[in-house]
């Protein structure tokens, strides 16, 4: 569904080839500066890269912008807002390429628990609330490919778990979900890990198979002890 062939970005990403399929919930993991955001931006067509990028079998270069908006949702790392748009208007922007759909917009806001602040100005919100507004905008697109860059930044533990559960829910519904992470501990919540280090792909597979003490030492330069520690979870069957 989403494919990169020998993807390189000048000085930042080297010869990355990968495929993420429909129904897959994958995470890109790596230390600061490893190229996680660069890879997501390149896959989303937001910066120029050499090599091939294909969305649902179509070469990205040949897909008109408006159609791209229907096929892929991208959530950036920053959630800055200079102008005081009401929350609902920001979420409704997700429907730009499709046409307005009030039900989808309401559902997207409910999914990240922002319905009660729908009329507040986005500039008045806390960092975490604003983050959830932009996640809702990505959800409102209903796009089959979802690329989220550090979606849990600024979020408290409860909302972090909800966002990961949302990502998993989208994949269960047939979407192709690719999320970047800097927190190793969240890695086990995903089906598949794509590990980057200094712009190169160094490991790709299920977290239990590839996340070894050796790899973590090599990539993050830290020692690891695999112990049981505090692991917060959402109550059974609940994620709102």
């Amino acid at each position: 569904m989403l494919k990169a062939a020998a993807l390189s970005v000048d000085g930042r990403l080297y010869n990355i080839s990968l495929e993420v399929h429909a129904g897959e919930c994958a995470a890109i993991l790596g230390p600061n500066g490893a190229g996680k955001s660069t890879l997501l931006n390149a896959l989303a067509g937001l910066l120029s890269a050499s090599g091939g990028i294909y969305w649902m079998g179509e070469e990205l270069e040949r897909i008109p912008y408006i159609k791209r908006g229907r096929m892929l949702a991208w959530l950036g790392q920053e959630s800055a807002a200079e102008f005081a748009f009401p929350v609902r208007d920001v979420v409704a922007q997700g429907r730009f390429a499709h046409g307005d759909d009030n039900q989808r917009i309401d559902e997207a806001m409910a999914a990240v628990n922002i319905s009660r602040i729908a009329n507040r100005a986005v500039t008045e919100l806390s960092g975490g609330e604003r983050r959830r507004v932009f996640i809702a905008r990505a959800l409102a697109t209903g796009a089959p490919i979802q690329l989220w860059d550090e979606p849990a930044s600024c979020l408290d533990v409860r909302h972090t778990l909800e966002v990961y559960a949302l990502a998993r829910g989208l994949a269960s519904g047939g979407a192709c979900v690719l999320v970047s992470l800097h927190d190793i501990r969240a890695a086990y919540r995903f089906d598949r890990l794509i590990v980057l280090d200094r712009g190169k792909l160094v490991a790709d597979g299920p977290p239990h198979d590839i996340l070894t003490a050796h790899l973590i030492r090599q990539v993050f330069c830290v020692e690891t002890r695999f112990l049981t520690s505090l692991v917060p979870e959402l109550p059974d069957g609940e994620y709102i």
């Binding site: 931006n41 989303a44 067509g45 937001l46 912008y65 408006i66 159609k67 791209r68 908006g69 229907r70 892929l72 949702a73 991208w74 950036g76 920053e78 800055a80 807002a81 200079e82 102008f83 005081a84 748009f85 009401p86 208007d89 920001v90 922007q93 997700g94 730009f96 390429a97 100005a121 932009f134 905008r137 697109t141």
Partner: protein, 325 residues
């Protein structure tokens, strides 16, 4: 009726009032009845001349200057994602001003058209230079810095000409008057020079309100949602330049309209550009026409550009105190 409809109706009413006042008030007063008679062809000769040859072109020029500056300000603020951006930020106004000052100083072959033509040429040369200097994909930051540099350069040359011509009192006064903006003695030639271009650019701008909303929250986000950001940015630069260049060509340098009007409207109605752009056109036209009224009574020293800043500045401060943004 929703709040937005009320605000639209309020601004439309304000503009209607400003248009009627602009046609009625002056050294020779025309009552609404006399204006109507002139429109119907039933007025006496002097009323007809005052209305058709003096008041109407002045009003139409003021209307379009205000529409151009208001809309251009709204565009620049969305373009730079900064509510403090103004139409002159990229050097369009100062380029236009320099062109006009050169034409006033050295003369030209196009009679009444000389100064406006020189001003439009200066404005387009300025934006061309900014884009050329910025190159590197003409990112907003590069454009902004190139604009700042050219504004300083053009301003310095204009000041030099002004000081060099200090001994020629008449020329000096002409340049100063032009630099402070004004729409007195405007003729139908000025209307035809500015109105069609400003009208066309305004019409082309209106459908861009929705993509401008997306652009206001970030380039990458806008592009990922389906906006061709590069193309949109070019459209906005070209349309904003046409609006500012033509407004400056027939009205001189009129400060503050493009900055204050979109700002006031954002405080009243929010930042949705689908409403902000047309409301800025109505608000800009109203402000220019209303600010032109005192210049008719307060003597030669009161220039339109001075009044717009004198009125717009305190009004914005009052609004900010009432409702901080």
């Amino acid at each position: 009726m929703s709040k937005s409809h009320l605000i639209f109706a309020g601004f439309a009413l304000l503009l209607f009032f400003a248009i009627v006042a602009s046609m009625a008030l002056g050294e020779a007063m025309l009552s609404p009845v006399e204006i109507w008679a002139a429109i119907c062809g039933a007025a006496d000769e002097s009323s007809r001349i005052i209305f058709f040859d003096i008041r109407l072109p002045r009003t139409i020029v003021g209307l379009f200057v205000g529409v151009g500056l208001g809309a251009s300000g709204a565009v620049m603020q969305a373009y730079f994602r900064n509510p403090l951006a103004a139409p002159g930020l990229l050097g369009v106004s100062s380029g236009g001003a320099l062109g006009a000052v050169l034409a006033l100083t050295f003369g030209g072959w196009f009679g009444i058209y000389t100064v406006p033509l020189a001003s439009v040429s200066g404005a387009f040369l300025a934006i061309g230079a900014v884009i050329l200097l910025a190159r590197k994909g003409a990112s907003p930051e590069h454009l902004l810095l190139a604009g700042v540099a050219l504004n300083a350069l053009f301003g310095a040359v204009t000041s030099f000409i002004l000081s060099a011509s200090a001994a020629q009192t008449h020329l000096n006064a002409q340049i100063l008057f032009w630099l402070m903006g004004g729409i007195e003695n405007r003729t139908w030639e000025h209307v035809w020079m500015a109105a069609p271009g400003i009208l066309l650019a305004s019409i082309l701008l209106l459908p861009l309100g929705r993509p401008m909303n997306l652009l206001a929250l970030g380039d990458s986000g806008a592009q990922s949602l389906g906006v061709d950001v590069r193309r949109l940015r070019w459209q906005l630069i070209v349309l904003s330049t046409v609006l500012t260049a033509l407004a400056t060509a027939v009205g001189g340098v009129i400060g503050f309209v493009g900055l204050v009007v979109p700002h006031i409207i954002r405080l009243l109605d929010g930042p949705n550009h689908r409403r902000l752009v047309p409301l800025s056109m109505l608000g800009g036209a109203s402000l220019v026409l209303l600010c032109d009224l005192p210049t008719r009574f307060l003597g030669a020293g009161t220039r339109l550009g001075v009044i717009t800043s004198l009125v717009g500045g305190p009004f914005l401060l009052w609004l900010l105190r009432k409702r901080p943004c």
